[in-house]
Symmetry: C2
Subunit: 107 residues, 2 copies
Amino acid sequence: MPTPPYYAVIFTSLRSPADPEGYAVTAERMVELAQQQPGYLGIESARGDDGLGITVSYWSSLEAIRGWREHAEHRLAQKNGRNKWYARFSLRIARVERAWDFEAKAD
Amino acid sequence: MPTPPYYAVIFTSLRSPADPEGYAVTAERMVELAQQQPGYLGIESARGDDGLGITVSYWSSLEAIRGWREHAEHRLAQKNGRNKWYARFSLRIARVERAWDFEAKAD
């Protein structure tokens, strides 16, 4: 990851019970596709047992985020997301101002 | 949540195998304590089966984040986090510029 500033898209979601197989295939494909977009920096994703999922993707610029948002295959996934896969979601675009990393020393 | 701008603290972590009970108690206490801090807006957290956890907390200002960061009980938790609970983590402070919410219509 570069030194800030860069951008984060914070996507928090609650899945509906519908179509787990279709969702899983598309979720995996979207990660693969995002990684190929201009300005992509990274992605982190977690879904807990309560069904709440958080995916944060990182981008070099707002233009890069816009490009990904308007990608045809991604737009179809977004439509399916609203129509069947998600009970609710929130999407936030944020400018990362500072970042730190920690790694434990090996014993 | 208010209309942007506001701030997000994005904390992504990988747990070490150490002290799961102590970690769980402290993690719960920190959420409770964060909610009592000035400028706290909200928190979302998920940890997947691969051990990757993402917690995003939301704050009204950088001053509010600084206050929480320097809270004595939180500082002790941070120390234990570095010394035993986390194999690695990343911490990012970001300014939320835009936000959208979606909720599926009831059938």
